[in-house]
């Protein structure tokens, strides 16, 4: 017989999202278990040893490991059980409405965990070179930026001596500085877009501080070397097409790919949670509940965040909704769809309830210093705000009050570009 345990709430993942959610449900007296396959809590934060976390949530500037430790302490103090070194293999909805998880850990073998609500907090994983089409053989020395970060920051292993970084997202930029500070040369950062994907401050402190060149509108067209990387060929792009006649060679033994993150949702899909193609995460309502009643989602599993503070806040909000659900409090009002158009990539949540405070999160498709974000419902503009700084790298957060969401009817957000650039 497989042993079975029962909790009110099961949280899958002990990263920033899972820990924040568990702290809230446990503090409200709901028996809560947080399951993570790693041996220590914190998720991706543990490998992000740089500072720049927590100014909002903990009111001080922390490194990733410090944030992780504080978040874990908060969850444990509230009474949440942390089950580490345990992987959730499978999840099912039982006929009585409870959720049954199959969990594997080296110590306990396979166990069943049954609960009334599940919060998905599995984070995201990196896209790798397999998802891109770059020719060349597959020599040693090619890493995703996150894998190199883990190697360097957690194992203390240097990935090489001379590196080229592909993609200018924040992880790649942070890694450029990390490599330089570890005595590794960084020859270049190569970005296909005409503007950097990461924050300007990271361009300054991670590239400019060290004189590392950033090639915008360039692409790596070839990785050279048989056993080990020996160099890359880089070409400028024109209308998105590499100008191979203008390609040039950069010597290196290491190539890092920093080309984006995808929410980790195999488990969610297996239980029938519908995903949003624009985020890769579950479709949710304003209570962060997915299409399967009782299953909620928060953090990078829902959509990729750039600031951990927003991850923790989102998870707390989801946990509040779980508590209301478990207490049998039914929300007033009806639900209606939320949509985005012009210049916005996505919105979370995808359904909303009238008469309820709601946080909306967006990603822009454009770079602009003059834009207006507006919300239209039933033919009326119900809200708008001007922005003088919009970047795809930075999430836009809008909190609307219950009074602003009085009516029912499809809600559409659009981002209108102003005159200035």
């Amino acid at each position: 017989m497989i042993q079975e345990e029962t909790f009110d709430v099961t949280v899958i993942g002990a990263g920033a999202a899972g820990l924040a959610a568990a702290a809230v449900t446990a503090a409200a007296g709901k028996t809560t278990i947080v399951i993570d396959r790693e041996d220590r809590p914190g998720g991706i934060l543990r490998q992000c040893i740089h500072n720049g976390f927590g100014l909002r949530y903990f009111k001080e500037e922390l490194t990733g490991p410090e944030y992780a430790e504080q978040a874990a302490e908060k969850a444990e103090k509230a009474g949440a059980n942390l089950r580490l070194g345990a992987t959730v293999l499978d999840m099912k909805k039982e006929p009585d409405g409870t959720l049954l998880l199959l969990v594997l850990s080296p110590g306990d073998g396979v166990r069943k965990i049954r609960s009334l609500a599940v919060i998905l907090a599995m984070g995201c994983r990196e896209r790798n070179r397999g998802n891109l089409a770059i020719p060349g053989s597959r020599p040693a020395g090619v890493f995703t930026a996150g894998a190199a970060q883990k190697l360097l920051n957690m194992e203390g292993i240097l990935p090489g001596k001379k590196a080229v970084i592909v993609g200018s997202g924040d992880i790649g930029l942070i890694m450029a500085r990390r490599l330089r500070w570890s005595g590794i040369k960084v020859e270049a950062v190569v970005e296909i877009m005409p503007y950097p994907a990461g924050l300007t401050r990271n361009i300054v402190q991670c590239l400019n501080d060290f004189g590392i060149p950033l090639y915008l509108e360039h692409s790596v067209v070839n990785i050279l070397g048989r056993e080990r990387v020996e160099g890359v060929e880089v070409a400028p792009l024109k209308d998105g097409i590499p100008q191979t006649e203008r390609k040039f060679h950069i010597d290196c033994d290491t190539v890092l790919f920093s080309v984006g993150l995808i929410p980790e949702n195999e488990l969610s899909s297996s239980v029938g949670v519908a995903l949003n193609p624009s985020t890769g995460g579950p479709l949710v309502d304003s209570g962060y509940e997915t299409g399967v009643p009782g299953i909620f989602a928060a953090g990078n599993v829902l959509h990729v965040h750039d600031l951990v503070d927003f991850v923790s806040e989102e998870a707390e909000h989801a946990a509040q909704m779980v508590i209301r659900r478990l207490n049998g409090e039914t929300a007033p009002g009806g639900t209606f769809p939320v949509k985005v158009e012009s210049n916005l990539k996505y919105v979370v949540p995808n359904r909303c309830r009238n008469g309820q405070d709601t946080r909306f999160a967006f990603r822009s498709l454009i770079v602009t210093n003059d834009a207006e974000l507006e919300a239209e419902q039933n033919g009326k503009i119900i809200w708008k705000r001007h922005y003088n700084y919009i970047r795809p790298a930075e999430m836009i957060i809008v909190d609307l009050k219950a009074e602003q969401l009085k009516e029912e009817g499809e809600l559409t957000f659009r981002l209108k570009k102003g005159e200035k650039i």
Partner: protein
């Protein structure tokens, strides 16, 4: 003298332009959207500083190295010297988050502290 800078105190990243005479006399800063930008430029021109983070090998059974950080910004010219010392060090556990590893590095007023608790 004239110099263009980018403020790194917040994600907006204002483009600043600084003008001065002689030894930073009559320093005039423009382009900042808030007073912190002017403060940043003054500091950056005279004495640029950064928080430094790194990992140091340790004798834990759980992980081969432990993350450390400076508890305040360190003058840039001291960074390489600090890193060289850190990479040649070894930490004996147990240590707690916030414990001081190196005190007042080269009279900079910055301590190196542990970013993580490791007890075994």
């Amino acid at each position: 003298m004239k110099k263009e800078l980018i403020c790194i105190r917040c994600p907006i990243g204002c483009r600043l332009s600084a003008e001065w005479k002689g030894d930073f006399e009559e320093l005039n800063i423009s382009g900042n959207r808030c007073p912190r930008g002017a403060e940043y430029a003054k500091q950056e021109l005279r004495d640029p500083r950064r928080i430094v983070t790194a990992v140091v090998p340790c004798n834990s059974v759980l992980q081969p190295c432990i993350p450390v950080r400076t508890d305040r910004e360190l003058p840039k010219h001291l960074i390489d010297r600090l890193l060289n010392i850190l990479y040649r060090s070894r930490v004996e556990i147990p240590v707690r988050k916030g414990d001081i590893f190196i005190e007042n590095f080269e009279n900079s007023n910055a301590n190196v502290i542990f970013s993580s608790t490791i007890t075994r």
